[in-house]
Point group: D4
Chain length 219, copies 8
C-alpha cells in the first residue's frame, strides 16, 4: 500500500473461520497473508482452508509468537540491504518481539535476534554491545520496569524503538510502567504502544527501507 506497510490480519477477537477466510483471500489477492495473535486452532483452520483454496502455498507458523505467514509460490518477498536487530530481556517478551521480527523480515530486512540481555544482569547487556552496534535500527522489547531500551540507547548511536511488553502485575502492571519509563527515558527513544510488536516491526521496516534505498536498493 501507499503507507509502505503490508496488510495483516489481527487474530484477536475473530473466529478461526473468519481468520481462515481473510487469510485465504489475502493469499489469493496479494500473494501473502500475515496473521498476528493467532492461536493454534485458528492456525489449523488456516492450514485447512489453504489446503483447499491454495494447495501450493507455503505456511510458516510461530506457535511461540502467535503469528502465521502464508505465501503463494509466485510471491516475491522484498529483500533489503539493511539490518534490524530485535532485542529482548527474557522469554516473556516473545510474543511482541516475535511479531516485530516477523514483520520487519516480511518487509525485507535482515533481522537478527539478540536475546536474554535484560538489565538485571547488566554484564550480559554490555557483552552484546558489538552485536547491538552492528544493526541499522533496533527494536528493544522489555516488560516490568522496561529499562532495557534506555540502557541500550546509551550504548549505541543507532535509532532505538522501545517496545513495552505487558508483563508485571499490581500498580501500573500490564506494561504501563514499562511504557511510561520508555516515554520518560533519559536517552533517545521513540516508542510504540504496549505489546505493539507489529507497529515496532513496521517502523523498523520503514527505516530499514530508507537505509537500503540509500545504499542503492531498488525498493
Amino acid at each position: 500500500t501507499r503507507s509502505g506497510v503490508p496488510e495483516a490480519v489481527l487474530g484477536d477477537g475473530k473466529t478461526p473461520g473468519e481468520i481462515a477466510d481473510l487469510a485465504s483471500t489475502a493469499v489469493e489477492t496479494t500473494g501473502r497473508a500475515i496473521v498476528t495473535r493467532i492461536d493454534p486452532p485458528a492456525a489449523a483452520a488456516v492450514r485447512r482452508e489453504l489446503a483447499t483454496d491454495a494447495p501450493e502455498a507455503t505456511v510458516r507458523w510461530s506457535e511461540r509468537s502467535n503469528w502465521l505467514v502464508a505465501t503463494a509460490p509466485e510471491f516475491e518477498r522484498p529483500d533489503l540491504d539493511a539490518t534490524v536487530g530485535v532485542v529482548t530481556a527474557g522469554t516473556s517478551d516473545a510474543v511482541p518481539a516475535g511479531e516485530a521480527a516477523m514483520l520487519a523480515a516480511e518487509m525485507g530486512a535482515a533481522v537478527t535476534r539478540i536475546s536474554d540481555v535484560g538489565v538485571a544482569s547488566i554484564a550480559r547487556t554490555i557483552d552484546a554491545v558489538d552485536r547491538l552496534r552492528d544493526q541499522d535500527v533496533l527494536v528493544v522489547a522489555a516488560g516490568r520496569e522496561g529499562a532495557l531500551p534506555t540502557v541500550v540507547a546509551g550504548l549505541v548511536d543507532t535509532p532505538v524503538i522501545g517496545l513495552p511488553v505487558s508483563t508485571g502485575y499490581g500498580h501500573d502492571g500490564a506494561g504501563e510502567a514499562a511504557f511510561s519509563g520508555m516515554i520518560q527515558s533519559c536517552t533517545t527513544l521513540s516508542v510504540v504502544n504496549i505489546d505493539a510488536g507489529f507497529t515496532a516491526g513496521a517502523q523498523a521496516g520503514l527505516i530499514a527501507r530508507q537505509v537500503a534505498d540509500a545504499r542503492g536498493d531498488d525498493v
Copy 2:
C-alpha cells in the same frame, strides 16, 4: 557522545546565571552550546556571559521556539546528505516543533518545515503530499486530538515520528489526548513524550545519519 546525540542544557527550572555558566562551559569544551526552553532573560544572560568568555562565538536564538545555539568559530557542525521534514498543524506547535527542527539541523540533517497542514482543513494536508514524500524521515507535531501524524503516515511510506503537543484544556488536555491518539494510531507511527521536541529531533537525526551513512557520508 557514544549515544550519538549532542548534549543540551534544558533551561526549565534553571536560573539565567546557571544557564549562562553551563552554556559558556559547553562552548569552551565542545565548541557548541545547545539550550532548550530558554526564556528571553536567560538568552540575554547567555549573550552577556559569552561576550566576555567567548566573544567570537556565534549565537542563534529562537524567541518563538525558545532555543539558543552558540558555536565557537572553529566548531564544525556535521553535514549529512539526508533530509528531515518537521510538520505542524498550526502556530501552537511552534515550541516543540522548533526544538525538533533545531536539533535535527544541529545533528547535520537538511531540515524542511511544512506548516499549517492541520486536519481541520484536510485539503491543505493533501496538497502537501509531495513535500511530505520528499523527506527521508518526518517529525509530525500536533496538539488537541493529535490526528495529523495518523493522516500523514497514511499518505507516505516514510517513517513518521509523532510529536504530541500540550495544547487543549479539560479532559485529557495538556497533550494527553494527542499522545494517546498517536499511540493508538491506525497507521504506523513511533511516538515521543508530550512536547518532547528534543527527543523527536534527536531520533530523526539518528535516522537521518543512518541514511546519510548508507549514501556514503562520512559520519
Copy 3:
C-alpha cells in the same frame, strides 16, 4: 415517552429468559421491542417466546450488530422527512454503528450507511464528501485514535456526533484514546460514551425530528 426516545432493553448481563420476557411485554404494551447487545441464544429465546405470545409479530435481528427489533402488526413506526448518516472507518465499528443506525431508523429517520472511509486512506474519506454533505445529521464512529469524526466535521457544516468505539489495546485502549481525541477535537463535535451507539442514534434521531418538524412533519 416524554423524553422522546423509545425504550429499549440492554441485553448485557441479562439471561435469555429475562430478555425474552422483557421483549414480549414490550411488544404487548407498546407494540415494539428493541433489544441491544443481544447474543444469538438470547435472540433465539425471544423468537421462541414471541412465537407463543405474539405469533403475528415481525422480528428483525442483526447478528452483526447484536440488536433485535420486534413489532406487532398494528405498530406504526414514525416516518420523518429527515436523514441521518452513520459513518464508519472499518468493520470493527459494526456493533455501535449498527445500534445507532437501528435506533435512528426506529425513531423514523431515513438512515444512510457510509462505510470504509477511515483516515488511514484519506482519499476514500474525501471521496465520500458529497454523501456526507447530503445528510441532516451525522453519527461518525471510530476506534483506535478516533480521528475520523474530526476530519469529517472539517469537511461538512452538518452537525457531527462522535461515537468512540472500544477497539485498540495497551495504553488508553478499549476506546479511551478515541474518546479523548473526539473530546479534544479541533473541529466541532459533540460526543457520546464509548460504544454508546444507542445514545448516538437517539441524539441523531432527536435532531432529525426537529428538522422534520421544521419541514412540516407531523411528529
Copy 4:
C-alpha cells in the same frame, strides 16, 4: 468556512498585543472578530487597536463571560429562524455558558438564557419546563456533579448538549465528575469537553441552522 463555524481567537496564553493584532486582522478580512477567554487588559488592547485600525467597528465585550465580538459596520450577522436555549444551574457556570450563548447568537440563532434552575432545588428546574420545551436545541451547563442536563433531558424531547463546568475541588474536581456524569447519563445527551462553551455553542448553532434551513431560511 466549510465547517460552518465562525473562526475565533482563543485568548488564553496570548498577550494583549497578539490578541489585538489578530482581532484587528479578523475585522478587516472577515468583518468580524470573535475572541474568547479574554481578560480586561486584552479587551482594552483590542479597543485601542480598533480605535486606530477600524474606528467605525462596533465592540461588544462580556466582562462576566470573558468574550469580545467586534464587527465592521458592513458585517451582516446571519439571522436564523431557530432557537437555542442556554441553561445554567448557578452563577459559576457563567463563563462557558456565556461563550456558548454568544457563539450560537453569532451563528444567527435566537438565544434564550434559562438560569438558576440547578437540581438542588428541583422545583425550580421543573418550573422551567415550558421554557425548556420551547427551544429547538438546548445547551445545559453544570459543574460539581453535573446532574442538570440529565434531569432536563428527561423533561423534554429536544436535543440536549451537556456542557460540564470546571467547578468543584478534591477527587475528580475541576469538572471531571460533571463530565463523567454527563457521559454516563441515563437520559439522552451528547457532550462537549469541560468548559468548552465555544464547542457547545457551535454545535447548537449547526443544529439551529439545519432547523432554520428546514423552515425555509436561506442559509
Copy 5:
C-alpha cells in the same frame, strides 16, 4: 462487637464449602450468620451444612440481592424505634440496595424500600417526597451518572448516604461516574464505596441506633 456492626461473611472469592463452614460456625457462636455476595450453589451448600449442624436454624436467602441470613431459634434480633429508607432508581440497583436493607434490618431498624424513582422521570422522584421525608435516615442507591442522591438530598432534611452502583460501561463506567458525582454533589451527602451496600446499611444502622437510643430504646 465494639464497633457496633454485626460480623458478616463476604461470599466473593470463597468456595461454597468455605462459606458453609463459616456460616455454620457463625450460627453456632453468635446465633446468626450473615453472608453477602453469595451465589445459588453456595446458598444451597449453606442450607445443607445447617441441615446437619443446626437443623432448627431459620434461613432467609435473597436470590435477587445475593445475601443469606441464618439465625438460631434463640437469637434475638435487636428491634429499634427508628426507620431507614432504602431508595433506588431502577432494577439494576438491587444487589447493593438489598444488602443495605438487609443489614440495617439485622441491626434492628425498620426498613422501607422506595423504588423506581430515578431522575430520568423526575416527576416520580417528586411524588415520593413524603415517603422520603418520613425516614430517620436514607440510603440512596444509583448507577450510571448517580444523580438520584443529589436530587433527594435537596428534597429532604434527613441525612442521606449515597450508594454508587457499578452499572454503566465505557469511560468511568462500573460505577466510577456515579461515585465521583456523589462525592462532588451540590447537596449534602456522605458516600460509601461503589456497590458497598453492606457499609451503607451499617452506617444507616448506626445512625438509626443513635436515634432510637435518643427515643429511649434500650440498645
Copy 6:
C-alpha cells in the same frame, strides 16, 4: 432551606468585594452570613462592609480555619441537645476540621474538638476513647494515608464520617490516598470529598438534629 443545611458563601475564587456584598446581603435577608475559605483581606472587607450596612452585627472570624460568621442581633442560632465530635490527627487538618466544627455548631450541635490523636502514636488515639464514645456522631479528619477514621470506627459504635485532608505529596498526594483509604476502610465509615469540611459538618449536623429531635427537641 428545605434541605436542612444553612447557605454559605465559598470564598475561593471570589474577590473581597464580591464576598463582602454576598455576606452583607445574607445578614440582611437571613440574619446570618457564613463564609468559608476566606482570606484575611476578604475578612477585612466583610467587616468594613458590615460596619456600614449592619453595624450591630456580630462577626466571628477564624484566621486558622479560614471561616467567618456574621450574625444580626436578632438572629437565633438553633440549639440542639446533641453532640458532634470533630477529631484530628495533627495541625495540618485545621482548615477542613475547623469548617466542619463551625458548621455543625451553626446548625446547633454541641461541638467538641478532639485533637492530636493521630495513629503514628496510637497510644494517644486509644487514650481518647472515652471522649470519642461520648459523642452522638464523629467527624474524623486525616491526611497522608488517612488511617485515623478507620481506627476510630473500630473503637466506637458511633457513626463516623471520614474527612480526607489534602496533605501529602507525590503519588496520590493532595489527599487522594487518604480519600481512597477511607473509601476502602475495613471498618464502617461514610466519607465526604477531600477537604470538604463544610459537607462533613453539614452531614454531622443533620444527624445531630435527628438525634436531638428524638430526644424531644423542637427543631
Copy 7:
C-alpha cells in the same frame, strides 16, 4: 546470584508442563526449585516430574499460599542468625504474606508469623507489640485501606516493609488504596508492589543477611 536473591519460577501464565520442566531443571542445576503462584494441578505436575527426574528430592507445597519448594538431598539452605516477622491483618493476606515468609526462610532467616492483628481491633495490634519488637525486620501485609503497616511502624523502631494486598472492590480496589496509603504513610515505611510477597520477602531476606553478617554469620 550476584543480586543475592534466589531464582524463582512465577507460575502465573505458565502451563503445568512448563512449570514442571522449569522446576526439574532448577533442582538439577541449583539443588532447589522455588515456584510461586502455582495452582494444585501444576503442583501435581511438578511432583510427577520430580518423581521421575529427581526421586530423592523433598517437595514442600503450600496450598494456601500457592508456593512450592523442592530441594535435592544435598542442598544446604543458608541459616542466618537473624529474624524476620511477617505480620497480617486477616486471612485474605495469606497468599502474599505466605510468599514473603517462604522466601525469607529460603534465604535463611528465622521467620515468625504474627497474624490477625488488623487495625479494626486495635487492641489486638497493641497486644502484639512485644512480638513485633523482637524481630530484626518486619514485613507487614494489609489489604483494603492498608493501615496496619502505618500503625506497626509507629509502635517499633524496626524497619518495616509494607506489602499491599489486592483485596477490596470498587474505587481504588484491588490493592490500590492500600498501596497508596502505605506510600503516603505518616510513619517510616518502604513499600513493594501490590501482592509482591516475593519482593517483600527478598528485601527482608537481604536485610536479615546484613544483620546476620554483622553478628558474625558466615554468609
Copy 8:
C-alpha cells in the same frame, strides 16, 4: 521517639516565622532541629531566631538540598558502626538525595555519596560497583524513567531502597514514571514516595541501626 526516627519540620507551606519558631522549640526541647524543604529566607529566619534564643547552637544549612540542622552544644548525635550509600544519577536528584543523606547521618550512619552514575552512561554505573558493594544499605535516587535502582540492585546483594525523583515532564512526568518503574522492577527493591528523601533516609537509618546493633553498638 518510639518509632526510631528523629522528628523534623517540613518547611513546605509554612511561613519563615512559623519555621523559625518550630526550630527554636525543637533545639530547646530535644537539642536538635531538623528542617527539610526550607528556602533561603526561612533559613535566614531560623538563624535570626536562634541568634536570640539559643546563641550557642550550631547551624548547618544545605542551600542545594534545602535542609537545615541546628544543634545545641550539648546534643550528642548517635554514632553507628554502619554505612549508608546515597547514589544519584545526576544533579537534578540533589534535593531528595541530600535529604536522605542528611537524615541517615543524623541517625548516626556513616554516609557516602556516590554521584553521577546514571544509566545513560552505563560504564560509569559499573565502575562504581566496588563502592556500591561496600555499603550496608543503599538509597538509590533517580528521575525520568528511574532505571538506576534496578540496575544497581542487579549488581549488589545489599538491600536497595528506590527513591523516585520528580523530574520529567509530559505523560507520567513529575516522577510518576520513575516511581512505577521502581515498583515494577525486575530486581529486588523496596520503594518510597516520589521525592520522599526523608523517608528513604529514615528507612536506611533504621536498617543501619539494626546492623550496628548486631555489630555490638550500644544504640
